[in-house]
Every structure is written in structure tokens, then in C-alpha cells.
Amino acid sequence: MENLLEMSSLFLQQLVNGITLGGVYALIAVGYTMVYGVIQLINFAHGEIYMFGAFLAFAMVTVFNVPFFMAAILSIIICACFGIVLDIIAYRPLRKAPRLAALITAIGMSLFLQNLALMIWGGEIQSYPREALPAFFYQEAIAFGDVTITWIQVFILLVTVIFMATLHFIIHRTAVGTAMRAISQDKTTAALMGINVNRVISFTFALGSGLGAVAGILVGLYYNAIFHMMGFIMGVKAFAAAVLGGIGSVPGAMLGGGLLGVAEALGAGYLSSAYRDGISYGVMILIILFKPSGLIGRSTTERV
């Protein structure tokens, strides 16, 4: 009996951790998938925007003593603008070039931004001093038996749900969201209907990058570890989540993120935490081999 209780509490604890992590994956994955939807490009530099989101908030809090929530909002806005600039200077000139050219540029931008962060902040892992953050973050919010949920987890889940709901609303209920979907289905016809395609693409980058920054800030808090490679590692996993759900599909990215987070946490809990990263890669390879359109992606037409 006691054994059973212990088993189920391990399961529940890992489930909670997995869902938290999954929400973060989903926040990043929608950025990959939305950009892919409108310009069929895997924006490899997306992970770096996530990293900059974490660093910018961190720098504002620690260097300039900006209150945490204010710093977070500023960082999100800066990263949204950053996404627009990235598209305009790096990708827009290559819109009509072969796709490989844009893909190589994306990898180049990713490396460039990693090294830029390395130059600015160094290679050390940075952490928030406890007194810089709202005190309740690391306290236990709910505990039953051995299962504990910290406030930071509650906060992450809450923020994720709110942003995902807002995103869903934007994509399905606003004119610009409908335009994003139209562009992902037929760019030429969207232009023929009077949509300023470049402007909507900019909006998409802003949206994806802003959400990436949200994720970066949350993860920076969760692990309290901010470093220049964090975007690379997280980017690969979130990309795996996007592929799992079906690249180009926003609900797919949400589902893929959630599933991957839970799979990883359970894998880490039951097998060994050494398998944690391997699970994402394994899932990605299996999906690419057996169902390249993903769980709920469409194989013929891309969509947002």
C-alpha cells in the first residue's frame, strides 16, 4: 500500500513537472511553427531570441534594478521588435531565393546571436539573486503527500495558459490572424486580396519572438540558470515539439510541447535523467521517419 502511494506520487510529481516544462516547450514551439506557416522557413535563430529574452530581463533586474515584472514586459517587447528586425535584415532579402539559402542564413544568425551573448554576458551560468525576485516564487504552493507544486510552477502554467489562449484568439478571431492563416495557405492570393504580406510576416515574427521571450524568462526563473547556450538546447527540443505536433500547425505545437514535456519528465523520473534529452531527439526522429506531417499537421498545405 505504502509502495503504491509512493509510486503514484512519483508519477504525479513527474507529471506536474512535465506539464510545466511542456507549457514552456509549447510557447517556443508555436514560434517555430507560425514562422514556418507564413514563410516555410525553420527559424533556427528562434532559440536565441528565447535566450535573449531571458538575458534581457535578467540584465534589467540585476544591473538596472528594474522590478521583475516590469523587466519581463520590457524584455518581451524588445524581443518582439528584435524578431521583426531579424526577419527584415536576414530573411526578407532572401524571400525569393532557394529555401536552402534562407535556412543557412538562419543557422548563421543563430550562431551569431549565441556568440553575441557570449561576448556581452560571458560563458558563465548566471543566476538571479533571490532578493531580486518576488519572494513567493520558490515557496511551495500546493503539497499533497510527497507531491509539491511550487509557486513558480503555478506561475508558469498560468502564464502559458493565458498566452496560449490569447494566441488562439488572435489567430482565429482577428483580421490579422485570419490574414496569417490565409498567407500560410496561399501567399499570392493573399496579396491579391490586398493583404500587405510583409507586414503580416513581421507581425508573425513579433508574436513568435514575444512568446519565445516569455518562455526564456520563465525558464530563467524555473532553473535559475541563464547562459548563452540555453537557446540552442531548448530550441532543438521545442523544434522537436513542433515537428511532433506537425510543423505549421499551432494546435499541433501546443500538443507536441505538452506531450514532449510529459514524456521527458516521466522518462527522467522512471528511467534515468540521462535520457531526458535523448527522448526529444528520439521522438523527433521517429516522427520524421513514420509520420512527417506530425500528429495533427496537414501534409499538403501548410497552415498557421
Binding site: 485570419t178 499570392t188 496579396a191 491579391l192 486580396m193 490586398g194 504580406v197
Partner: protein, 234 residues
């Protein structure tokens, strides 16, 4: 209203338009007829700003539009119904219509036009929450026309509206095109392979062959022209 002056256009090495000149008069229906690959769609895409013009000029109401972006041209009042209808398959019928009104700053007007076309095409109203891709060809053509009209065009470009439709539906579509000109006063440029139907409807016609205008005249004259009869009218 619209004037093409010696327009050339290329797809890489392919010289698709070789000095096309034509004019569309305000309030008229003008048609472009010609065989497959003649350059009709390319001409419309060049007018709409999708296909780059390598030389020559396109002017709309005296203003050159050749370097304008497609969305700007739409805002000037030229809207195209592209070949093959190109309904957004994963948007609902209603969303397709709303996209048509995207560039129209007058949202009350957009809603009004939507209501009007729901009345003219009751089938669209019935299907308004259905995905565009699930409509039949004829329904899609009606949706494509209604979608373009949502932007309140002054010049409507129609690329082969009869393509792949049954004769009865073609007749219906032609009637609607006539209505659009008569009731809304919208000028129309019609591209067709169905030369008979197009010429019967039009005031003026151009015959295009391999990227060049080879014949132009009043539509009724073209209908009786022996060369046209032989080549384009069964």
C-alpha cells in the same frame, strides 16, 4: 481607366509578355482571349503587381502602378479573381469573404457587401461556416467573385471564371458578371478561353497569342471575324 503600354515580362529566360499594349475603358467589359500559354494570366498578374514588368508601363487612371506592391494596387481599386479561383481551403466561407474585405477601410461597408452577396448567392450563406475547400467548383467561383467584390473594386480582373464549370453554371456566372457591371458600375477585364461567351458579354476584345496582342476590335466585330471564328469559336 487602365492602360498597358508595351509591357514586357519574363519568367527567368522565358519571355512571356512581348510588348502587350491594351486599354480598358471606364464602365466597359473588356476581354482577353487566347489559347493556353498565350500570356493572359501573366498579363493580369502584371497588372496586379505580382508578376514583375521588365519594361513598358501600366497606368491606372493616369498613374503608373507598375512598381506598386499588390496590396497597394488593391487599395487603388483593382482586384483580381485569379485563375482556378484559389479559395483559401482551410478558411471558412465567411473568413474567405472577410479576407476579401481586409484592405477595405470601411468595415461597415464590408459587412453590407457581405450581406448583399449572401443574398445573391444564398448557397454561400448556407455554407458560411464550412471550409472553403469543401465547396463545389461553381460555389467556389461564386465565392471567389464575392470575395473580390468585398474590397469594393472599381476595376475587376477575372481570370477564366468559366474554367471547369458545367455550361449551365457558366451561363449563370456570365449573367452575374453582367450584373456587376450594370448594377455596380464596376469596370471588368475578363480573361477567357471560352471566347464565345466572353465576346458575347464584352464591349471590346483583345486576342493574345504567344505574349502578343494579334487582334483587337469591338467584341461584336471579333465575333464575326473569320480569323477569330476559325481559331477560337468552334
Amino acid at each position: 481607366m487602365l492602360k498597358l503600354d508595351n509591357v514586357n515580362s519574363h519568367y527567368g529566360q522565358i519571355h512571356a509578355l512581348k510588348g502587350i499594349s491594351l486599354e480598358v475603358e471606364q464602365g466597359s467589359i473588356c476581354c482577353l482571349i487566347g489559347a493556353n500559354g498565350a500570356g493572359k494570366s501573366t498579363t493580369l498578374m502584371a497588372i496586379s503587381g505580382i508578376q514583375p514588368v521588365s519594361s513598358g508601363d501600366v497606368t491606372f487612371e493616369g498613374e503608373s502602378i507598375k512598381k506598386m506592391t499588390p496590396d497597394k494596387i488593391v487599395r487603388k481599386g483593382i482586384i483580381q479573381v485569379p485563375e482556378g479561383r484559389r479559395i483559401f481551403p482551410y478558411l471558412t466561407v465567411e473568413e474567405n469573404l472577410m479576407i476579401g474585405g481586409y484592405a477595405n477601410p470601411d468595415k461597415a461597408k464590408v459587412a453590407e457587401i457581405a450581406d448583399k452577396y449572401y443574398e445573391i448567392f444564398p448557397i454561400l450563406k448556407e455554407r458560411c461556416n464550412q471550409l472553403g475547400g469543401t465547396l463545389s467548383g461553381g460555389e467556389q467561383q461564386m465565392l471567389a467573385i464575392a470575395r473580390a467584390l468585398m474590397g469594393s473594386p472599381r476595376l475587376l480582373l477575372l481570370d477564366e471564371p468559366s474554367l471547369g464549370l458545367a455550361p449551365l453554371i457558366v451561363e449563370n456566372i456570365m449573367k452575374i458578371i453582367k450584373q456587376i457591371r450594370e448594377e455596380e458600375g464596376i469596370t471588368i477585364m475578363l480573361v477567357e478561353q471560352n471566347a464565345q461567351a466572353a465576346l458575347e458579354l464584352s464591349d471590346f476584345g483583345y486576342v493574345v497569342e504567344t505574349g502578343e496582342v494579334v487582334l483587337e476590335d469591338k467584341a461584336d466585330k471579333l465575333l464575326n471575324d473569320p480569323k477569330v471564328k476559325e481559331a477560337y469559336l468552334g
